[in-house]
Subunit: 341 residues, 4 copies
Amino acid sequence: MITCGIVGVTGYAGLELLKLIEQHPTIRLEKVISDSSAGMTLSELYPWLQTGPKILEPFQADALDGIDVLFLATPSGVSADYIRQLASFPGVVIDLSGDLRLPSGLYETWYGKPPVTETIQREAVYGLTEWNRELLTKAKWISNPGCYATAVSLALLPFVQHDWIDPAHIIVSACSGITGAGKGLSEKTHHAKSNENVQLYKIHAHQHIPEIEQTLFHMGGTEATVSMSTHLLPINRGIMATITVQPNDHVSEDEWVNRLQNAYMDEPFIRVQRGEPEIKSTVGSNYCDLWVYKEERTHRLTIVSVIDNMQKGAAGQALQNANVRFGFDETLGLLNQPQYI
Amino acid sequence: MITCGIVGVTGYAGLELLKLIEQHPTIRLEKVISDSSAGMTLSELYPWLQTGPKILEPFQADALDGIDVLFLATPSGVSADYIRQLASFPGVVIDLSGDLRLPSGLYETWYGKPPVTETIQREAVYGLTEWNRELLTKAKWISNPGCYATAVSLALLPFVQHDWIDPAHIIVSACSGITGAGKGLSEKTHHAKSNENVQLYKIHAHQHIPEIEQTLFHMGGTEATVSMSTHLLPINRGIMATITVQPNDHVSEDEWVNRLQNAYMDEPFIRVQRGEPEIKSTVGSNYCDLWVYKEERTHRLTIVSVIDNMQKGAAGQALQNANVRFGFDETLGLLNQPQYI
Amino acid sequence: MITCGIVGVTGYAGLELLKLIEQHPTIRLEKVISDSSAGMTLSELYPWLQTGPKILEPFQADALDGIDVLFLATPSGVSADYIRQLASFPGVVIDLSGDLRLPSGLYETWYGKPPVTETIQREAVYGLTEWNRELLTKAKWISNPGCYATAVSLALLPFVQHDWIDPAHIIVSACSGITGAGKGLSEKTHHAKSNENVQLYKIHAHQHIPEIEQTLFHMGGTEATVSMSTHLLPINRGIMATITVQPNDHVSEDEWVNRLQNAYMDEPFIRVQRGEPEIKSTVGSNYCDLWVYKEERTHRLTIVSVIDNMQKGAAGQALQNANVRFGFDETLGLLNQPQYI
Amino acid sequence: MITCGIVGVTGYAGLELLKLIEQHPTIRLEKVISDSSAGMTLSELYPWLQTGPKILEPFQADALDGIDVLFLATPSGVSADYIRQLASFPGVVIDLSGDLRLPSGLYETWYGKPPVTETIQREAVYGLTEWNRELLTKAKWISNPGCYATAVSLALLPFVQHDWIDPAHIIVSACSGITGAGKGLSEKTHHAKSNENVQLYKIHAHQHIPEIEQTLFHMGGTEATVSMSTHLLPINRGIMATITVQPNDHVSEDEWVNRLQNAYMDEPFIRVQRGEPEIKSTVGSNYCDLWVYKEERTHRLTIVSVIDNMQKGAAGQALQNANVRFGFDETLGLLNQPQYI
């Protein structure tokens, strides 16, 4: 049994983590932290949540005695600020923001904020669990991947790793549920605006694009360029990435499905599917569902990847990383079925 | 003043046409036709519609005296059947289905149904209004374009016509509101299934793909191959096509916007926009909104096209074609503002 | 031809009014006014709206020369402030907020803001068009009714006027689309919160309750007490009021439908319907649809009233009142069909 | 450890039960039964569900050896048919349809189908768990309550039991998510129809009305008449009942909240809440949330009850009843948190 704290428990990812950890058999939630709502109880904050009388505390780096793992479910910039204060914290830090994902230069370009020190950034282990388990077992700082980056990297890594596709022609059309836009109030997420709508945003400027390219390079060994468009959907959860690539091998669709199945054969959270993809096949769960289709006319492949942006795309993967880090069964507390209906 | 009939008034496109024509100043609705609901009145069928006591009639090719234009808002296959019976009908026929869009061979491959005669197919004029006005003024059969085909072709034609892009690398990610799936009952459109969902469908098999390639060839003078994925959205109306292309010219984004604006400068229904695209910018109207963005990192262009699938993608364009065919101002009865909120 | 100005054109009701007036044949939009967005053009504000290059101006009571009618589509409190400045404005003022609806004492109790002068409040004519035409033709200040108040009062007035029901037992369960909550940002209207949700709000405290009771008294001649619950729905538009009453007469359901039809026989915007009510039967139009059912077991009546909160519940009725005030055909510019699909 | 079978696993309630039982520690799922889909595997039926290779079997009353409890998640009429064949089945039968809820005469009137034998109907124990535990421990047939009936009865029982309210004036306005309409295809549940809509249905004719009155009589000891209107919402799950009553006692709102809290003090699934009710406070969980408000002006009370129609309103309560019947902790397998976001 280990103990944890969640910073940013008032946000969507923090809330999801809270719910997941409360049903986790070997991680005990010790502290719920929120600067904005310190002093409230969890049940005042979330009257619909069945929970104990825990009181939210402000973030204090020197009041974390006995915490084995601290989850930062805070926005980019805020995480960096806390991370700077956590240099002497003896436990593990898992950051769900983008603040540990990119080297300083890239970070400043894409995030427009001051980065953490290069030492910390270099020490941070990228938590795309399926592709980085060994390093994760010893990590002090874990950089939890972005939601789009998780969906796209899991889909593409087997293809770039084995040189199955041309890394110069990767086109991603991705869409996300509204929770991806965060809990902050904005015109974009006002129901009357977002409802019955699809909004394209951060065109050619989404900060997960360099993260994906870096992952394909570090873990897939390939320099790839990725174009990705991101669409905001009028649904609460889910990410779907529809990826078009040019294969180097001319094998059948069945063979592509087999290759993908073999690549992820032993992975508990990755399911290679057939049939027509739908975004809610994983919503409410930590699964990543993958499909691959061959277009006979053009010889292109369409790869589709679907995750719940709050689970495998945020809190679920963070917990999966914690499981790996502390030597627990990787699926502990994470086998919820998709909600679906 | 001319007179018209609508066949298939119980479907979504038929209903939209009915509403548009009722506010049209120079086209009078003479007959509402539906085999399935013949004998009902319009107000029994649509109690919420403010309308006269018109009675639905069954389709009878020899009972169309005095009808100047007949709109077939019927499904593929059904239209073909009616068209065969209309060989001696003296008026104009505007078919909203796919039955006149492709030559026999392609039609059979993509639609899996028996085609109309080659004579009729050859006589049919493709009603992508902005690109075919001259032929439309004399047409006997007008083949109204498919909804995706309209959105994508209007976006791409200026680019292929002027050789601005590489026709071998056109990737379309498109999504449609649920009305695009028709009024028939299916699991896909059951609210509990489609709600909070995005469903990919007809993967590499959508019948609008050959229609787009044919249009780019006939009207844009370029043999292009197009890969298009189609996603069903949990909204009622709208099509968004996010198109990724490789430009031949390396000019600035502003210049691309200018080029597109110039291409459509005099078009009343095509609006070149800036800012972030959203699908509801045209819903409820006959406009097609276009955006173009340059990705500096990859030199690719992203072109976004948005229409209301029921208006510019079906009934609106059909009426626009009728206006052209009968020499009316092309915008007559079609200047509704988008609904938006 | 008369001229008008709209104050508060950045809000939902102001936008709806703008769209309606642009298609109105005898009212010309002269000024669009918004303190918050003064200096912008309409097309910058609403890029999706097909409109001229009109520039938004700040509110200035002494810069309204030549304006025949000024619509205040501003929130309660803001309208009052402007109204105080408009005492010497020679035109007609139609206020869409609650600021002219209640006498000072009641206003302060239910709105918690300083009221306009009693003189102005007494001069203001309540614009429930169907029930107040005569006074409206001479009004200087027109107080446009609240959305819930319109739906409920139109349903109940024939019943209380003729003593058909017991005025002590009127129970209203009402629900509204999200536009009813206004354009301001709030947790309630964040898509992730409101989506897949129904939120009860202002329990026993909705400011339309005293407005309804006052209307039943002034126009129906009956002192009634009304209990009303209000539910916020995850849809954009529409109000449905489901009203349970105890009838004094024991006649058949058909007879109740007949009575209601007779009461509104000559009204162009009120439609007495049969069948199962649905909120979108009027959305996008200025109609008010009414249904009445008799419960044989309990002898109670259920009356259902449906309007579009943005049209008959706000901008549509404001325009209807302007038509009456200036002697135009009451339906001018207001015969849009419901959107429905 | 006991074993169970689920009949009707292709429907919404059957699916929910399947998911709940798969995480239940002491009930093992032995058989999944479906006449319509017999021969398929669960993973063919639900590719998104993480499940074993279980094969669906047709219903055969004589092939249930070793099954301790059989859940009938089948529609009314179908359940009755199976129940007739289960007379000699030695295990417990929990029927989620309405077929065991009403005596023959009432059943025929409200359901319009042939009832089960009077013997079986009399033997059946009504499974409103909180109010019938003792009889449930010995039941052979358990009649699982209707979704609306659960929400309304749990709210009203303390009030009628203690004569706190006038049983002649109970007005219920209730609304349900679309899953309440079942998985069968219908125009009502076609997304394009139900979306952005609220549909009133079964006006004065909902079969849960006599069920509620019977429950208030049998368990609350009071003959009450209830008027209930039922609205179909464009959301997947949830029931909200907004109930207006006339209290006999004139105590404060706080006192009403206290009384309700005391009434349900020891109930693990009933939560008396304060603040503004929302339907998703229980969705995804087996909780029933209750609120009570006093309207000072009219002295009426508004009681609000919220459940997930698939859990406490169907599969959850069925499992709760199984827990009681077999002497397990009543909350076993049922402590999921609400989904909320």
